[in-house]
């Protein structure tokens, strides 16, 4: 009887172990399956060997992962897979597994992946993440070797500067760029008699014109002229550009070491926005929501706009004439640029890093392939190539490139500083005195910068 009981218990125990899945205690089962795996590995090795002989590029065999933020159609799985298919025609031995991230949760997904040692090999985003954040933390691979190619010499200097870390290493290889602008509902402006306040030729307007236009919209009955969205960080470059431009303020000093949001110009701008009827500080919206509301005709203007939005679903579904505009400013508008490209996470695997570099080179070095990569992004190339010939929308938006302002999103500790920005807007919206709110923002943001620099 006792024996039987013991047997049963042992049985129950091993059942428990099987259920434990990842536990290390289940050696026997593990060994059994490892045999099967080995045989399988042997067969795959065989096929790989064959491929090595027949394949065009015998050098590298690797399986790499690519995570992309939704930069135009780089956020659509089908489009990216098509680009990868082109890549695989030349490099059949490099498998690229693609994951699309979103701006709402993407950063947190990457954080969890980094912390658990599962960071992707390639990532597609801008310098504020690749250089100022992950690069500064020493998680990225230096891409100087790709930057030293002849083709790379053609990349615009301002872009190059943004892709380089404070330590002089290149953590991003750029693919495309744009100037973030804003947009207005032309039909609504016309109906409200507000078209007189904008210059349709240069697409600029003064701060006073902006005020008058909003007043006209409100008088017309459209009380939701615009929204200073501030639920979270999504699309925050729009609100920053709006505030900075109104009275010619800047976001950081020229050296990108300190935040200047508490300057007189910026305080004046925030106070103006707060006082304007028709401009709501809306803590229930992020940039994406704002674009949507604009394209639905609910909001009269969008501060989080660019050519990608126009070409995307929101722009296409709008039932009215969308007129892209520079931000209202008394001087020359300074638009926030967007730069996107590849970075490589240092996963301590020389083979995968090499494969990732091969991928970047394929996408950026040859003009034909590069044009495809740029077109997928819906933005502009970072060096001179012939692209978008006769594309009306691109010509229209091309006007804004001349207003491209300083790319300041490379301050160390940027990730924390930007969260302080929308928290500050929420406070202003909630009735906190502007001066108090911006001072608090600058303190937090500068502390974050100092901490990150010290690190």
């Amino acid at each position: 009887m006792k024996k039987l009981l013991a047997l049963l218990l042992v049985g129950a125990m091993s059942l428990g172990l099987v259920a434990c899945g990842g536990s290390n205690t289940s050696e026997p089962a593990a060994e059994a399956s490892s045999v099967a795996v080995e045989t399988e590995a042997a067969t795959t090795a065989g096929t790989e060997a064959e491929a090595e002989i027949t394949g065009e590029n015998p050098d590298i065999t690797a399986e790499i992962s690519l995570w992309t933020y939704p930069v135009g159609d780089w956020g659509k799985e089908d489009a990216v897979k098509e680009l990868i298919a082109g890549f695989n025609e030349v490099y059949p031995n490099i498998t690229v597994d693609v994951q699309i991230l979103d701006y709402a949760e993407g950063d947190k997904t990457v954080t969890a992946a980094i912390e658990s040692g599962n960071a992707p090999d390639l990532i597609f985003e801008g310098p504020e993440r690749l250089v100022a954040n992950w690069g500064a933390k020493g998680l990225m691979v230096d891409l100087s070797d790709i930057w030293s190619t002849d083709v790379s010499a053609g990349i615009y200097d301002s872009i190059e500067a943004a892709c380089k870390g404070t330590d002089g290493k290149y953590y991003e290889y750029p693919v495309c760029m744009t100037a973030h602008c804003m947009a207005i509902n032309r039909d609504l402006f016309e109906a409200a008699g507000a078209l007189q306040y904008i210059d349709e030729e240069t697409r600029t307007w003064s701060t006073e014109d902006f005020q008058k236009a909003v007043e006209a919209l409100v008088a017309y009955g459209h009380t939701n002229a615009g929204a200073v969205f501030c639920r979270d960080q999504g699309g925050d470059q729009g609100t920053r550009a709006l505030v900075n431009n109104l009275y010619g303020g800047t976001f950081t000093n020229a050296e990108h070491t300190e935040y200047t949001a508490n300057s007189e110009e910026n305080i004046k701008a925030l106070e103006l926005l707060k006082s304007m009827e028709g401009i709501n500080f809306d803590a229930s919206l992020v940039g994406g929501d704002e674009i949507k509301l604009f394209s639905q005709g609910v909001l009269g203007m969008a501060f989080c706009w660019n050519v990608g939005a126009e070409k995307g679903e929101d722009g296409q579904s709008a039932q009215f004439d969308i007129l892209p505009m520079a931000f209202p400013s008394d001087g020359t508008p300074a638009l926030q640029g967007g730069i996107w490209g590849f970075g490589i996470f240092d996963n301590k695997d020389a083979n995968r890093i090499e494969a990732a570099k091969v991928f970047i080179q394929y996408m950026t070095q040859d003009d034909v392939d590069y044009a495809k990569a740029v077109e997928t992004s819906t933005y502009w190339p970072v060096r001179e190539i012939s692209i978008y010939e006769g594309d009306e929308i691109m010509t229209e938006y091309g006007k804004f490139m001349q207003y491209m302002g300083d790319y300041y999103q490379v301050v160390p500790g940027w990730a924390e500083a930007r969260t302080a920005w929308w928290n500050m807007l929420q406070k202003v919206g909630g009735g906190t005195d502007v001066k108090t709110a911006v001072e608090e923002f600058v303190t937090t943001a500068n502390a974050a910068a100092a901490a990150a620099t010290a690190q």
């Binding site: 599962n118 994406g288 674009i291």
Partner: protein
């Protein structure tokens, strides 16, 4: 006089409950109708109470959004031997809309977690209630204290641990912490207190072994408790959005809840698409609920519980 007052009270109560019932049904109604309303109606400033036109465009968009293999069967523990630490897939299903795969993942996750929890908790709860052993009080105190612990508390260590176990980004990383959560043990322990000691004693005298006693005598008596636990675990795991958010990266391993949340991140306020996703998430579980309604609502009496 008294009777009339009673009746008035009852009448008013019923009216109030009817109002609440309406409020509780409305979101679901809004989800399902919203999924079939055309784009313009959804974003119109005057809501459309009943769809003037039924369209399936949102579902088409949902289905064409992402693709994933319908299923992928892994070699158990394969990730420990594969070169890249990823699971070794030996059987991959046909390519299908990812939303359907999410649904399959969710069902697999909830059912597996439910079964594992019920089996382990039934055994442990019984032992805790009916056996006297060294460390019993300590263990029980630990369980009570850990019961309400939100998973956010152990977020970072858990992520690292899952990675060490090669479970990160697999559905198991959501299942195992759910099974480890000691609420089930507590619940079954409370239930098992009600088992009369004499029955166990007489079974022992009759020569029944521990296992036999457990299966033939204990289990039938704690069945309602296990039923309650099964339902509770199933729903909780289904809704355990946080763990899914943290642990699951690749769209092939997402659950339907996570899928909708991610759609929300991508398409912000495309409520038509979101409602289509929500409908897909809600309909299967509501169907199960209505079919098994009897079990959901019957037998979960806690009257038998002795604290």
């Amino acid at each position: 006089m008294k009777i009339t007052r009673n009746k008035v009270y009852k009448f008013i109560s019923v009216v109030i409950i009817l109002i609440f019932a309406f409020l509780f049904t409305f979101p679901l109604y809004w989800i399902i109708t919203g999924a079939f309303k055309p784009y313009e109606a959804i974003n119109s400033l005057t809501p459309e109470w009943w769809p003037s036109e039924w369209v399936t465009t949102h579902f088409e968009k949902l289905m064409s959004n992402r693709k994933a293999p319908l299923w992928e069967l892994h070699i158990p523990f394969g990730s420990f031997f594969s070169e890249n630490g990823k699971p070794i897939v030996f059987w991959e299903g046909p390519e299908a809309p990812a939303a359907i795969r999410w649904l399959i993942n969710t069902v697999f996750m909830a059912v597996t977690a439910m079964l594992l929890t019920c089996v382990t908790a039934a055994m442990a709860g019984y032992a805790l209630a009916k056996k006297r052993f060294v460390g019993r009080t300590v263990l029980f105190t630990l369980i009570v204290c850990a019961m309400a612990l939100p998973k956010q508390v152990i977020l970072i260590p858990l992520v690292r641990e899952m990675s060490d176990l090669n479970l990160y980004n697999t559905i198991w990383s959501v299942i195992f912490p759910a099974v480890g959560w000691p609420f089930g043990v507590f619940l079954i322990k409370q239930f098992s207190e009600g088992i009369p000691g004499e029955i166990l004693e007489s079974a022992r005298i009759d020569g029944a072994g521990e296992i036999k006693t457990f299966i033939n005598i204990v289990f039938p008596m704690i069945k309602p408790g296990v039923g309650a636990l099964a339902i509770f675990t199933f729903i909780n795991t289904w809704n355990d959005y946080f763990m899914q958010l943290i642990m699951l990266v690749n769209s092939e391993v997402w659950t339907i809840s996570l899928g909708i949340a991610k759609l929300q991140g991508e398409y912000s306020t495309d409520y038509g698409l979101l409602m289509a996703g929500a409908t897909m998430a809600a309909i299967p579980i509501i169907t199960v609920f209505i079919i098994f309604q009897k079990y959901f609502t019957k037998g979960i009496t806690m009257g038998a519980v002795k604290g």
